[in-house]
Structure formats: C-alpha cells, structure tokens
Amino acid sequence: MSDSPVQSRQDLLEQAELTDQDLALNVTDMMDRQIDDAELFIQHNRSEAWALEDGKVKDGSFSVSQGVGVRAITGEKTGFAHTNELNESALRKACVMAASIADRGGNRRAEVPTDVPFRRLYPGGDPTADVTNDDKVRFLSELDQFTRALDPRIAEVSISIRGSTDRVLVYGSDGTNQFDDRPLVNCRVHVIVKDGSRMESGTDGSGGRYPLDMFFRDDFATAKEMAREAVRMAITKLDSVAAPAGEMPVVLGPGWAGVLLHEAVGHGLEGDCERKKTSCFEGKIGEKVANELCTVVDDATLDGRRGSLSIDDEGTPGQRTVLIEDGILKGFMWDKHNAILTGNQSTGNGRRESFASLTIPRMTNTFLLGGESDPEDIVRSVTKGVYCSAFSGGQVDPSSGRFVFATTEAYLIEDGKLTSPVHGCMLTGYPWDVMNSITMVGSDFALDPGVGTCGKQGQGVPVGVGQPTIKVEQITVGGTST
C-alpha cells in the first residue's frame, strides 16, 4: 500500500482488475442510455481491530471490504446497483442495471475527466503500518495494568484499538475523477467499578484520521489519559443521585456536548430534508432560528479530524459551510443530487457508508463557535439546574424537530456551584426553543475527542462535533426526581 495518491489509485484499479479505459467506456455507455448523470464509486477498505478483556488480548480481527457502486440519475430518479465482485464484466452488469432507471431522454454527454485540486487533510497509506502486532499486544496489556492500578474498585477493564484505511475512486459523467485514501483510527477504554453493591461504568475514547502510532507515543500518554478519565467518570458516578425531572436551566460542557447541535439543527439542515420539505427549517434561510450568540458551522477541512474529508464521496472537495451566523439561518448542507434538483451547489457533504449505500447529504465536523463568557461565570449564573459533561449520543425527528440526547455524566448546580453527580438521563427539546434559549456561550471552545458515528437511513459515517461551555435557559431533563 503506497503513500503516493497516484500509485495508490493505480493499485486500487489493479486490485479491481479495471483500467481507466473501462471506467470511461462504461460511463459513456450509460450516458448513451439517455440518463442525466452516471457515477462509479470503487472502494477498498481494509481494517483491523484488537481487543483486550479480562486482562487478556483475546480478540483480533482483520477485514477487507471491496466493491463498486454504480449510480445513474435521471431527473429525480436514481438507479443504483452495487456488487462486491470486482472485474470488468461485473462492473458492466451493474452499469446496465443502474441505467435501467432511464425512462426519458437526458441529452447530456460524458464530460472529459478533470482533476479538481484539493488539499489532502490526512496522510495516505495504512495508518497501522508503523506499529507491529507485538507492539499492539504490549500496548493493550500495559494499558490494562496501568488502568487496574488506578483504583482498587475497578472490577473490569476492556480496551480496544482499531485502524482502517479506506481507498475510494469516484468517476462520473460530469467530469469527476477523484481519488482519496482515508485513514481512521480509534482507541477506547471502558471500565466497570464496584463499591459494595453499587456498580458503575465509565468510558473514554479518541480517534481521528492519523496514524495509530499517535496512541503509542510518549509512553502511551494519550491512552493513559483516557484510562484516567474513564476511571474518574465511573468512580464519580458511584455517588450519583437521581437526576431531576422537568424543565430547567442546563449548562453543557465543552466538546462532546456539541451532539446537541448535531441533533437540534444539523440533521434538519441536510439538503435532502430541504428538497423534500420535511425539515422544520425548510424555507427559513435569512430568518432568526437561534440566539444571536450562536454561529454554527460544518467544517470538513480540519486536519486529521474524524469527520474530515479531503473530498466527499462524490469527489467534491471538503468545505467549511456556515449554517447559522449570529442566530440567522445561512445555509444547508448539500450533496450533488439534491443540490442540482434545487438549484444549489454541492457543499461537499455527499457521503455514503460504503459502495453498497446511496449517497445522501451528511454532516462532517459540526460545531458551535466559541463566545466570550467565562465558563465559571456560566455555572455561577445558575441557581438550580444541571451541568452535563459527557454524553452517549442523541437522535432527532427532523420534521417535528424534536430531539433527544443522553447524558452519561452530569451534576446538580445549586446556587452557582456543582454539587452531587446525578444518574445519566435523557434531555429533550425542540430546536427553536433550545437554540433561542442559549443565553451564554463560553470562551472554551473544544472539539470532541473523535469518537462520534452518525446514523441516518441505516448508514453510519464518522463525524465530529464541538462547542464551548453553553447555558441553555430551558430544556426538559428526563430524570426521576420531581
């Protein structure tokens, strides 16, 4: 596997037993069936995972997934066929099936492939190449011993590391001819602690598009910090009391809490919802949808982040898109298909889980920019409420806008101070209520550590979120204490 994009692209085609000529010919043939657009997506994904449980490195797996997805578009109609058989005849068969969607004449011709320059945001090649299997096993064992020594109440430790490289080639009748080589790694530490009859769990993890060896540097410094954090969280929760129930002020800590924006506004601003008029934000460009302290962006161009994309899965270079600026709705996130149908331009948000899934508009790294409030002042401003610092995830119904997200570490705020930790609970609200009641935005902006996966229409893709400490005046907290 090569670090050079040109060589790596060549390797991918050779593995697929295909040539550039095969791609050009099949696209031209599809266009002869009078469709508007034809696209080939060739992918080779290699991943490996190692896991430690019960003090033993007991699980290792290696997986290869490869295939081609063919898309034929005519007006609003899409024909899609995919196969994991890679050769010219399988490709041709998939092209015939996809093009059968054609039912009326588009008169477009295939454009000559052009190279659209873009900036590479991460290194190509295998991100696990610099670490031997011996190193991986030693890493897991030493980190296990380190974690267990942190507290006598630790009952179980599980640790996993993963690394994958995803090579994709997008070739389309609109002249697209782009290749990307995307690394992705992560490390996760999970602990169970026991004190008498009480048990709790704590988890920490991080990852991104960088070499796996990042976790191994400086005597495993990053990983050890994650272990400390997982243990701290679990031990803290041992003393937790019932969370309150009802509407109240909530302070959300920096980083991961950005999942609030991802659910509350992100999904509703994906272009398919706008085209189908199923979003609660439909037709609201230029209107105030959040407190003026709020500026929300989706940014695929951050170096090495989990949600970053040098190019999206349609070959459009990754971009920074302002969604909400000073509380005013500025734009949606678009893929090519939905953008063309609505007279917009792709914002580089066309993503797919793999060659076996259809491209839909998705978020990359979505976050709320930092403000001016001192985080401590934000907590001090609350007489009675909840402070949430860790989350397990969320979900949204984009048409009603109703969203939920689950906090896994939270504290009561009483007279401006954090007091008892509380059990994890669900928070729920409507975007316009919640976004308008963000009344303080902290100066401590942070991105999440790189562990998020977003699910939509059954497709999971890696994403990033971020925000500074913020205060939401009113949101429903789903605890048990009334």
Binding site: D32, G60, S63, K77, N133, I192, R198, Q395, C425, T480
Partner: protein, 455 residues
C-alpha cells in the same frame, strides 16, 4: 451497451445450486485453515441478492440492486483466536484471509474458553423452518407496490404532504456455516418488505410517522394500501401535541413499543453482559426480576418466521426455553464462549434470542386504559438512555395522554424515566392486542409508575 443488454425485468434469483456452491466454499476455507496450522476453525459464507424500489410524490425515486458475497473465518491455535472477514472470494484471497486470521491468532493470548462448541452440543437435525419462498417478483411489481403505498398515504387526508415516500423490497439470502468438527448447515431465506413514511402538517407544525411490514412470504406482507394508510393515520393522530405537567404517572407501552420495554430484560441476562459484569442482573438466576404475572417463553423453531433458526451462531442446537418463569429468571442466555466464562453450558443463544412470547393473563386494552385511568400511553420512543449496569432508564417518548381511562390528546417531547428493576416488577397489566411481528409476541404493557417530564 447494446440494446440486447437491457436489464432483466424480473430479479435473477439464486439457482438451486447456490447452497452446494457455498458449502464447498466453506469446506475449502476450513481445509485451508487446518492446512495452514489451525487446530480448530469455523467459517461462514453468505450470498444475498436484493432489490429495493422507492417512490415519492407519486413517482419512482430510486431502484437499488444489490448482490454481495462475503465470508468470515475464525481460527483457533492453542485456544488463541483470530478472525478475518473479506468480500473477495478468489482463491488467492482465501489463502491470504486465512493467513491473516492465523497471524492474528499468533498474537492473541491463550483463553481456555476460546474454541468450537463441544461436539455433542452441535445441531444435528435441520428440519425445514420454511423461510425460503423465492419467487420472481418483477421490478414492475415492486414499482407498482411502492407507488401504491405512497399514493395511499397521500390520498388518505389533505393534511398529508409528500415526504420520504414509500418502498417495496425483496431479498434472497443463502448462508452456510461450518466448522472443523464436521458441522455444516446451509440456510436459505427470503424477506419481502413494504414501508411508507407519512408527513402530516397542521398550523401548529409537522409530524412524521411510518409503517412497514416484512415477511418471508410475498403474499403475507400487509398490502401496499394498508401500509400507506397506516403511515398516514399514525402521522395524523400525532398532530397538535400538548405538553404535560412533570410528575409520576402510570405508563402504558402500546403493543408496538412494548418490545423495546422488554428487550433490556433479555440483554440483562445475556452471557456477554453477565461475564463482563455489565448488568444489574448479576447472579439473578432463580431470583425474581419481574412481576410474577409474567412468563417469557422462546420458540426457536416456529415455521415461516424470519427469526427462527435450528442452530445459533456457534452451530449449537437451539431449543425451546422458558426464559422468565412467573417473574423468575429460569435461564441465562448463553453462547459457547460466555457459557465457558461463567462455567455453565451454552443455551444456544450465540447471536441472541429468536421468537419470544409473553405469557400472561391478558386484559382487553380499553379495560387496561381504564385501569390506568390517568397517565401516558406511549406509541413512539426516541433515543436510547438505558444504563444496563445500574438499570437506570430514561427515554424520549411521544404518545397520548389518558384521562379518565380514555385517550384525551397527543403528547410529544416527553421523557419517561425509572429503573428497569422497578419497571419490570411494576408491570400491572398485559393487553389482549397481541402482535406477532418481530422478536416479541406481545400486546400493550402497563407499568404502574414512571417519572414523566415535558416542557
């Protein structure tokens, strides 16, 4: 692309030989693994063909064809395990993939619990569970079904607007599992599905809901008209929701949400969570964990059911079980590895449960509402807020407020919270509106009290 090469209008199904072909592949994989030095090995190969057609605004939107084959091989060397998965089934890929699995096994540590099931636990009888009903449904038929479901939803009421539309699909799968103890089992099944999404709009806002059905027999899926109308009806009834005053109320899960109430109970007594100590039901065998009025029985061999199976993911024979007997845990749910970790024997549950029936005294649903009198009827849940380690439960919900035993108005943007232990012991009634769609055969379930919060 010449004119002769047009796409087939009917879906090409697997030929009769597919099971033999895949079985040979499994045997080759195991031979290769043993040849390269594995002490034990197992392999799974699956091949599936599917077509899904979706319609929106009374027109076809997408047609998606899928054809894929993948294999997984696990090898054991001195109780060290390595696994490799690939979608490349060429001869050289088979060699490489097996070599990768073995190379991983050399680095993992010895774990005496690793390895194939004991020979006498492997399934030996494979009665036909009648899950395979291949029939050449044409693309035109799927298009017509998707269009009809979409139109039935749009025509149902003027408040229904075009949204995500409807779909019709067909999948045929053949999977073969085998191991170096001589076990081999081929399984073929078909799944036909129809679904519709509906968006209802009023001055107060929009609500969406959906409906779907799937079955291994094409003629047994609910009609496209029904699917479309049901989606529309479900979206309409949610319009103009109100909020409720936070407090403690009885909560009834309707028959479609009741499975998600019961599912954490199954998870909490499953082997993986037990040996990892990730459950509040540690050491719960023969103890009371739910209302004594509830029994859960599992029937793995029911005919014509997608969930049914003769053996679990390890090849261990499945059998009928009383999982919960009058509120008491009668058996844990164990696969081969978790059973060995817990020094017990496998119950044939690697990969989970099959068909679980709720066995209880049933009450007519309107009587159950009367019994509840004043509380929340849950018809939709959002988000997952269950902490299995502590049993803490908190979930987003929508449904209807019930006053004086009657449905009064829709409610939305609500959270319901409690603890699983209290909830299962606090179940006070089972509705007679039994549904038998997925894993759980159950009617509505009434929980005596939960904390309800809203804005």
């Amino acid at each position: 692309m010449t004119r002769e090469e047009s796409a087939t209008e009917a879906i090409e199904l697997h030929d009769e030989n597919v099971a033999n072909e895949l079985s040979e592949l499994v045997e080759r994989l195991i031979e290769e693994a043993q040849g390269q030095g594995a002490h034990q090995s197992s392999a799974t190969v699956s091949d599936s063909i599917s077509v899904e057609v979706s319609a929106r605004e009374r027109d076809i939107e997408n047609i998606a064809y899928e054809q894929g084959r993948a294999f997984r091989v696990s090898v054991y060397v001195d109780h060290r395990e390595g696994t490799a998965v690939t979608s490349d089934v060429t001869d050289s890929a088979i060699k490489d993939t097996v070599a990768q699995a073995l190379s991983i096994a050399r680095f993992t540590e010895v774990d005496a619990c690793n390895g194939l099931p004991d020979q006498d636990r492997l399934a030996t009888e494979f009665p036909d569970l009648e899950q395979n009903f291949p029939q050449p449904v044409s693309i035109e038929q799927l298009k017509a079904d998707a269009l009809l479901a979409d139109a039935s939803s749009l025509d149902f009421d003027p408040c229904i607007l075009p949204a995500d539309g409807a779909s019709a699909s067909q999948t045929a799968t053949c999977s073969v599992r085998g191991n170096s103890l001589g076990f081999i089992n081929a399984n073929r099944y078909t799944i036909y599905g129809r679904s519709a999404t509906a968006l209802a709009r009023s001055d107060a806002g929009m609500q969406t809901d959906y409906w779907f059905d799937q079955n291994c027999q094409f003629e047994n899926i609910e009609s496209a008209e029904f699917i479309g109308r049901e989606a529309a009806q479900r979206a309409l009834r949610r319009l103009n929701p109100r909020s409720v005053t936070a407090g403690t109320y009885p909560v009834m899960y309707d028959r479609w949400t009741a499975p998600s109430l019961l599912y954490p109970l199954i998870e909490a007594i499953s082997g993986g969570n037990l040996y990892r100590q990730e459950t509040y039901l540690q050491d719960s065998l023969n103890t009371e964990v739910a209302t004594t009025s509830m029994t859960l029985r599992e029937y793995p061999h029911l005919r014509k059911r997608i969930q049914s199976r003769n053996c679990d993911a390890d090849g261990v024979a499945t059998s009928e079980h009383t999982i919960i007997n009058k509120g008491v845990v009668n058996t844990y749910l164990l696969g081969t590895y978790s059973a060995r970790r817990l020094k017990l024997t496998s119950t044939g549950h690697a990969g989970g449960v099959t068909n679980v029936h709720v066995d209880a005294d049933l009450t007519p649903v309107d009587e159950l509402l009367k019994k509840m009198n004043h509380g929340l009827l849950v018809t939709s849940l959002i988000g997952s807020g269950t902490n299995l380690v502590t049993g803490d439960y908190s979930c987003g919900a929508a449904g209807f407020w019930v006053e004086n035993g009657e449905i009064a108005y829709p409610v939305d943007n609500i959270t319901i919270a409690s603890n699983l232990d209290l909830m299962y012991k606090g179940i006070v009634g089972f509705g007679d509106d039994t549904q038998d769609r997925g894993t759980f055969r159950t009617g509505s379930i009434l929980v005596n009290e939960m904390t309800v919060a809203s804005n």
